[in-house]
Assembly symmetry: D2
Homo-oligomer: 145 residues x 4
Amino acid sequence: MASDWFEFLKKDFVQGFPAFCGFEVTHADHGVFETCLKVQDKHRQQDGFVHAGVISTMADHTAGYAAYTTVTRKSRILTIEFKINFFKPATSPLLICRSKVINNGKKIKVVESEVFSASDGTEKLVSKAMLTMTAVPAENIQAVS
Amino acid sequence: MASDWFEFLKKDFVQGFPAFCGFEVTHADHGVFETCLKVQDKHRQQDGFVHAGVISTMADHTAGYAAYTTVTRKSRILTIEFKINFFKPATSPLLICRSKVINNGKKIKVVESEVFSASDGTEKLVSKAMLTMTAVPAENIQAVS
Amino acid sequence: MASDWFEFLKKDFVQGFPAFCGFEVTHADHGVFETCLKVQDKHRQQDGFVHAGVISTMADHTAGYAAYTTVTRKSRILTIEFKINFFKPATSPLLICRSKVINNGKKIKVVESEVFSASDGTEKLVSKAMLTMTAVPAENIQAVS
Amino acid sequence: MASDWFEFLKKDFVQGFPAFCGFEVTHADHGVFETCLKVQDKHRQQDGFVHAGVISTMADHTAGYAAYTTVTRKSRILTIEFKINFFKPATSPLLICRSKVINNGKKIKVVESEVFSASDGTEKLVSKAMLTMTAVPAENIQAVS
């Protein structure tokens, strides 16, 4: 059942570095994934803005799980590369990331992630990324290239 | 004195999210910066490799400080965008990042970061990034674009 | 008048390399620009597909003029960098490019271009680009960085 | 013989769009490729500089053939994506592009291209690109993703 797979991925998302950062899952469906982060001081850079690394991690990990929703347990998703633009500093207490698969090839999946800085019900687009991911057989996870 | 500035930047580097991640500075000079990370479980993703977000954060932050070495206290550095490729999974206990300014414009600085997975004295290039950064007057830090 | 400016840009678009390639303008409005290309053999690569360079040129030049629609004659637009993904080979007789400014900063403008391969009224998204452009004073056109 | 393969690729390079643009090959070896272009008015943009599309096409096509030097006739090379930065306007009468494979995976090859504006024996680095390419079996050339 696809919905079982989405529920599994919602839990699987929160482990290792993403768990350490504090990302939470808010939505999952075929080809889409949404997460959020309650911003704390540990997420900031030297000028008090959310660090580009936090935003990049969120954009990458959420995109990876958007790609996971399009495959089965037999596949693993690895990031080949991504590009991310930072539009304005993120200063609000909440970050929201929405990722969407925009080209769902069998092996190569291209995903977009939009990151919003949210406050009092308003959202500001602070960053956008385009990511190239590859689906590899789970038993062959070392063979990235 | 340039060397005072480099010493200041070595300390300034470790705060907020990069401190939380555990990055350490090993070298700084005009247009170059080098950092390392002792890999722990909290840095990993679902397959046990170092998370792409850790590598991206290291590539971005080290590049930012490479750019800082080319300006004075009157300027702040902000990331406009970057692109990063992941060549192979990082599985070793140590990550090393070396960043270099490759085009030192007055306002726009292009920096490259190479990330190595190191073990027993051997280094393997696992990731490379190209980053576009902007130097803004310190008193005008909000005006990113 | 904005509409005069858009009409001027529609003509200004077709000169130099873009004229040599054969691009035509189909639409211009604030923050958006649309162009097309009737594909000929001279646009192909070694396997018979439209060359990635043709698609890149179209994505870049159309994006540049989308950015131009947001400024006045006092500014010139220059490309700082772009990233482009190729989803599938373009094999149809017509290419269409639609560009849109997605973050309209005063100096830094981020634009997206989508390129479609069209045939018999159907369009297939074959490529997408994200571009970072800068608006510089027309009298200072050499000062790119 | 590898040298036969390199000689074949030097000729194969100049066809379709790259031939139309006027690129010439100056060097080929395992993992590297070098080309040049005598700049004419048809290569320029609205401000008189070499068009970003010309530089992008040169960076992409030269990188593709650098990747070709690492495979055999049984494989075709396709561009998955690339990112390119423009450092300064190219105004000299000659462009030189040097491409190098920096990660030679079996299926995924990452290549760098540097483009120089040359005049009177001096070269100025005007652009740098990082490209992700894929080697596909020649008999299966349509299956890009």
